[in-house]
Symmetry: C2
Subunit: 368 residues, 2 copies
C-alpha cells in the first residue's frame, strides 16, 4: 500500500504519513526517492481541457482514451526534447496533423545544433511541422475542449495538446526538512547516496549527481541512472558498501527512423565551462556499404584542445547506430584520446560495420 509522506521529522527520526488518518512512522534510516515533477509554466489555459502531460502512466492512459474516444485531428506538442519528439512521432503515426513548438532554436537540445538538425529533418520528413524559437503563451479552450495553442508568433489550431517541457527534481519533502540541496536544485548526496542529514539517504531523479567529465554537480532524470543509484543506496542501507561514481551524460533515443545518442559534454556545455575544444564530424555507414540494411550514420566527437582527451560524442543514424555511443562513453569517462580510440581493436564484419567503425573514422578525422 502506498501512503503519502507529508513531512520528515529529522530530530524525531519519524515521518508523517497520510493514509486513512495521519500518523507518524518512526525510522532508523530513511530513503527519499521522490523523483521528478514535470515543468509546467504559469501560463493561461495549461490546466484546461485537452492538455496532457506525458509524465505518468495514468496521464498516458487518459491521453490514449481521449484519442480513442474523441478522434482529434490536430495535435500540438510543446517541447522538443525526447518526450516531445516521441509524442510528435506517435501522433503522426496515428494520422494526426502535428505541430511542435519549442522556444529553443533546435529540437533535441542535448545534441549540438549541427546534429540536432538531422533529427529535425527526420521529423519534417514524416510531416511534423516545427515552430522553433517560439515560446508558448497560452492554450485556449472552447466548449470543454482544447481549441488552440498561442505562441509568441502565431495561433495553432489544436484538438489535443501535450506538454513535454522537461522535469525538475521533486524536493519539497526534503526542503521542508531542511535537507540541503545542491546547486542544480536537486538533493545533495555523497557517492554513497547519503544526504547531509544523518540517517537520511536519497536516490533517483530527486538527487544531484556528479558529472565525470566536467567534474561538476549535475542533474539528470533518467531511469538507468535512477536504477543504478537505487541499487547503491540499497546496498548501503542494507549495511553493505557501494558508491555511485557519477555519470557522463549518456542518453539514447529513437526518433522516426533515426537512432540518436549522446555522451559527455556538448558544445554549449564546454563553452559554459570555458574549455577550449575541437570537434570532428563524419558520415559513414552502419554496415558495409554493400550489405542489406546498410544506412547513414553521422558521428561527432569533441575533444579538449590542449590534452586531446575526448570529452563528448554524438551519433545520429539508422538502425545499429546508437549503441556505438557506449564506446564513446567509456572513452570520455577514461579520458582517452582520438589516437587511443583509433588504436582499439573494434569488431568488424559486413553485417555490423564498415572495416573502420564509424566511431574510429571520426577519431581518424580528429587526428588530421
Amino acid at each position: 500500500v502506498l501512503h503519502e509522506v507529508t513531512e520528515i521529522d529529522r530530530g524525531g527520526q519519524r515521518v508523517r504519513v497520510r493514509s486513512d488518518e495521519e500518523r507518524w512512522e518512526p525510522f532508523d534510516e530513511l530513503l527519499i526517492a521522490t523523483g521528478a515533477l514535470p515543468l509546467r509554466p504559469d501560463l493561461p489555459g495549461l490546466d484546461g481541457p485537452g492538455v496532457y502531460g506525458a509524465h505518468t502512466l495514468s496521464e498516458a492512459g487518459e491521453l490514449f482514451e481521449a484519442l480513442e474516444r474523441d478522434r482529434p485531428s490536430r495535435a500540438v506538442v510543446v517541447g522538443g526534447g525526447y518526450i516531445g519528439l516521441e509524442m510528435a512521432e506517435a501522433f503522426r503515426r496515428r494520422g494526426l496533423h502535428v505541430s511542435l513548438v519549442d522556444q529553443a532554436r533546435q529540437v533535441m537540445g542535448t545534441l549540438d545544433p549541427d546534429m540536432g538538425v538531422l533529427v529535425a529533418d527526420a521529423l519534417e520528413r514524416i510531416g511534423v511541422e516545427l515552430y522553433l524559437e517560439e515560446g508558448l503563451k497560452a492554450v485556449e479552450s472552447e466548449g470543454g475542449r482544447a481549441r488552440a495553442v498561442i505562441t509568441g508568433n502565431r495561433t495553432l489550431a489544436a484538438d489535443v495538446v501535450v506538454l513535454g517541457l522537461g522535469v525538475r527534481p521533486n524536493v519539497a519533502l526534503a526542503e521542508g526538512a531542511k535537507i540541503p540541496l545542491g546547486e542544480s536544485g536537486a538533493i545533495s548526496v555523497d557517492e554513497r547516496m547519503r544526504t547531509e542529514a544523518e540517517g537520511i539517504w536519497a536516490a533517483g531523479d530527486c538527487v544531484e549527481t556528479f558529472h565525470r567529465v566536467s567534474r561538476k554537480p549535475f542533474h539528470v532524470a533518467l531511469g538507468t541512472v535512477a536504477n543504478r543509484q537505487g541499487r547503491v543506496a540499497g546496498i548501503n542501507l542494507g549495511g553493505g558498501a557501494a558508491t555511485f561514481p557519477g555519470v557522463v551524460g549518456t542518453a539514447v533515443s529513437k526518433i522516426c527512423e533515426l537512432e540518436v545518442a549522446r555522451t559527455g559534454l556538448q558544445e554549449k556545455e564546454l563553452r559554459e565551462l570555458g574549455w577550449e575544444f575541437e570537434t570532428a564530424r563524419i558520415e559513414s555507414r552502419t554496415r558495409a556499404h554493400y550489405f542489406p540494411g546498410s544506412g547513414k550514420i553521422t558521428v561527432k566527437i569533441l575533444w579538449e584542445k590542449r590534452s586531446g582527451r575526448l570529452v563528448g560524442g554524438q551519433i545520429v543514424g539508422v538502425e545499429g547506430a546508437a549503441k556505438r555511443i557506449d564506446v564513446l562513453a567509456l572513452a570520455v569517462t577514461l579520458g582517452l584520446t582520438a589516437q587511443d580510440l583509433v588504436d582499439m581493436d573494434l569488431s568488424y564484419a559486413p553485417p555490423f560495420s564498415p572495416v573502420w567503425d564509424p566511431v574510429q573514422t571520426a577519431a581518424r578525422t580528429a587526428l588530421r
Copy 2:
C-alpha cells in the same frame, strides 16, 4: 597490372618480377603484403573435382557457377570456423542437404565450449548436420564429380565439398630472403611494421602481431587488422610516423539468426598462459523485454583472479547483440575490472537495451 614477385634480393635492394619475361625491379623500401594461404592437408582427393575453397573471389565464383549449373543436392563443409559456418548456412538457404565436419569438439573454436554450443544449436535448428570430433580422411570422386567425404567415423555422400580449414601466413617470399619469422610462423615486424631486414616492411595476414592482453606474439588473419596495419605501414613508408599497438582478438560474425562476437582471451588461451581466471555468464535481452524485436543475448566475461581485470568477453545473441563486444574490447585493452564496467554510464532506452546493459549485468554477476 599485377606481376608475381618470385624473389627478394635484400643486398641488391631489388625484386625478381615475372611478367612476360623475368626482370629485376629495384627498390628503396619494400612492403611485403602477401596475405595468407588456405590450409590444405595432404589427404587423398582434396584436389579432385567438386572440392572448393572459400579463399578468393574467383574460387567463390567457380563454386557459385557449379551450384547454378549442376544443382547439387548434398554439400559437405569441412571446418567449423567462421567461413565453414557461413558456407553451411548459405548452402542450407539454397536448399541443399548440409553436413559439417570438424575434428574439434565444438564449432566456432574462438568461443569457449559453453558459448560455441549456442552456435551449434542454431545451425542444427536450420538443419545442418554436425559431425564433430571427426577428422577428414579423404574425398572420393567418380566420373569427374565429387561423390563422398570420408571421415574417421563415416562416409558422407557429397556432390559438393567446401574446405574451410583456416589459413596460414604466406611467408614463402620472406623466407626465401631469410627475413625472420616470429614464433607464430608469420613475418616478425615491429610496431611500425618494419621487418628485421633493412628497408623491408610487411603488413596484413602475412605478419605476426602483438596481443595486448597476453602481451605475446599473435597471428590473426582479419581484414580489419590488415587494413589498420596497411595504414600504419603506408604512413611510415611515406615518411610519417605511425605505430600499430596490436590487437585484443576482437572478432564478430553472423551465423543464422545469431550474432557472435568475442574479444580478449578465451578459457583455453588462459589455461595455456597459466593464468588463474574466473568467469561469469548471463542471459539477458537485446532490448527491453516488452519492446518489439527484443530477443535473447548471452554474455560471458572472463577476468584474472588476482587483479580482477577483465581479460576476455564473448557474446551470442539475436540482432543488436554483437556490437556490444566493442565495450568489452575497450575494457580488456585498458584492464578495467567488472566494478569499473558496472560504474560506466552506458546508454539505455527500450529499443536498445534493458535498463542494465547485458554487458553490465554480466559484470554485476562477476561481483557476486
